[in-house]
């Protein structure tokens, strides 16, 4: 490994830690929020279903960078609170990826044939039970591949947090570069690190999908 990297390894590692932490918060928070949005829309809950639709359409039309600026600068100014860059970017990632995940979960829900629902109702289950025990598990299983590709996108997108001053992998790499000025080596190593962690995440997705298949 090049000297420049070895010398700054602890610093870069703490950056990698922040990247993974941001991605983790985004994945957990985004999945929960996205699933709620998708269910609200799928069950056509009055008012809330419309709100969920509006939310996903708006957020999916806004660049992540603008979303982070809104979470870091605009929302605190509007509501009069103070926010650190890390908290603001975590909030931004959750709000941002939730809209995309909602869309993936919803198409998973829509792909379940209505015959299954009717069969479930015919066996005497209540509508809520049919949804929870029959529709939802199958929809979740089907949405694993697209959802994991959103997770990978999120993992890459955490790099944008460096723009508002979060010291994650990209942010610390840029700091190291400002001190050492070896952009080609430092950025190549950063790119390789992203390549590896993104590949691991999509590999996990593939394994999970294979594990969840129903064997007949």
């Amino acid at each position: 490994m090049p000297d420049v990297i070895l010398k700054n390894l602890p610093f870069l590692m703490s950056g990698l830690g922040n990247t993974l932490l941001l991605a983790f918060i985004g994945i957990v928070g985004g999945t929960a929020t996205g699933l709620i949005l998708a269910i609200l829309r799928h069950l056509r809950v009055p008012v809330l279903g419309r709100v969920a639709l509006l939310y996903t359409e708006i957020v999916r039309g806004i660049p992540l960078l603008v979303m982070l600026f809104i979470c870091y600068f605009a929302l605190p100014a509007l509501f009069g609170y103070r926010s650190g860059a890390f908290q603001a970017s975590a909030l931004g990632f959750v709000l941002f990826i939730a809209a995309y995940l909602a869309e993936e979960f919803r198409s998973g829900l829509r792909s379940i044939r209505t015959g299954l629902e009717q069969a479930g109702l015919a066996t005497g289950l209540r509508p809520a039970q049919v949804f929870r025990l029959i529709i939802l598990p199958q929809a979740l299983r089907r949405s694993v591949p697209p959802v994991f590709s959103q997770y990978v996108r999120l993992l890459k997108f955490t790099s944008v947090a460096s723009v508002i001053g979060v010291s994650e992998l990209t942010g610390s790499a840029l700091l190291v570069n400002a001190r050492e000025f070896e952009p080609v080596i430092i950025l190549t190593m950063t790119a390789l690190t992203y390549l590896v962690i993104c590949s691991i995440l999509s590999f996990i997705g593939r394994v999970l999908y294979a594990q969840l298949q129903i064997r007949t």
Partner: protein
């Protein structure tokens, strides 16, 4: 919530915003054209029979796609600093390479979705291999992948906001500049968020409204 709204700084800086919007459109358009060209080439290779071709295309796609766009931007901006390219070209390069990987995957799937019978029938009528591609395979693939291409295009427009980090004077960059002068944080970012939203909606709806992009009715089942 004791924030008082003041939209006048936005209106006073409307020419800056308009300039930013124009640069955003130009950047996205140029990058989109290049990304489509590169993406179709790579996608065609990765849908081909050649094993080495598929491998090379696969490595290209994985390497371009799994590296954050921000790193692409910084990398091409700093690594090619000795060429003294304007930031705009570096942003085009970064956006093109990053997006072309996504286009390639979509194109590969689109070509794979055209049934073998179509190619075989076209060859049987005596069309040259090039004509088979351009007259038979690509038009059908295009219809199948039009929705994905539309969403990739709007993705690209949103991604172009990252060019602001290498000081390309597009919409997000101008917003930062206006915000720095006027401190009307909320108004500025809401305004550009709405502008992006409008742009993305126009493009994603517009592409699908083009003639030839809609799904052709399925006339007969493939043999």
């Amino acid at each position: 919530m004791d924030y008082t709204f003041d939209w006048s700084p936005i209106w006073n800086n409307r020419d800056l915003i308009a300039e930013g919007l124009l640069i955003t459109i130009a950047l996205s358009l140029v990058a989109l054209v290049f990304a489509l060209v590169v993406g179709v080439l790579v996608g065609t290779v990765s849908a081909s029979k050649s094993r080495i071709g598929r491998l090379v295309a696969g490595v290209f796609v994985e390497c371009m796609r799994n590296v954050p766009l921000l790193i692409h931007m910084y990398f091409w901006y700093m690594a090619l600093a000795f060429l003294r390219l304007p930031a705009f070209s570096c942003a085009v390069l970064g956006l093109t390479l990053y997006s072309s990987a996504y286009v390639a995957e979509v194109v590969r799937a689109g070509i794979g979705g055209v049934s073998r019978g179509q190619t075989q029938a076209a060859q049987a009528t005596g069309l040259s291999p090039l004509k088979v591609r351009f007259l038979i395979v690509y038009p059908q693939a295009l219809r199948n992948i039009a929705p994905s291409l539309a969403s990739l295009s709007s993705q690209l427009i949103k991604d172009s906001s990252l060019a602001s980090v290498i000081a390309v004077g597009e919409l997000t960059y101008q917003a930062g500049a206006i915000e720095g002068q006027t401190f009307r944080t909320f108004e500025v970012y809401i305004t550009i968020a709405l502008l992006y939203l409008a742009l993305v909606l126009c493009v994603s709806r517009g592409i699908l409204a083009l003639p030839g992009m809609r799904h052709a009715p399925r006339v007969a089942a493939d043999a």
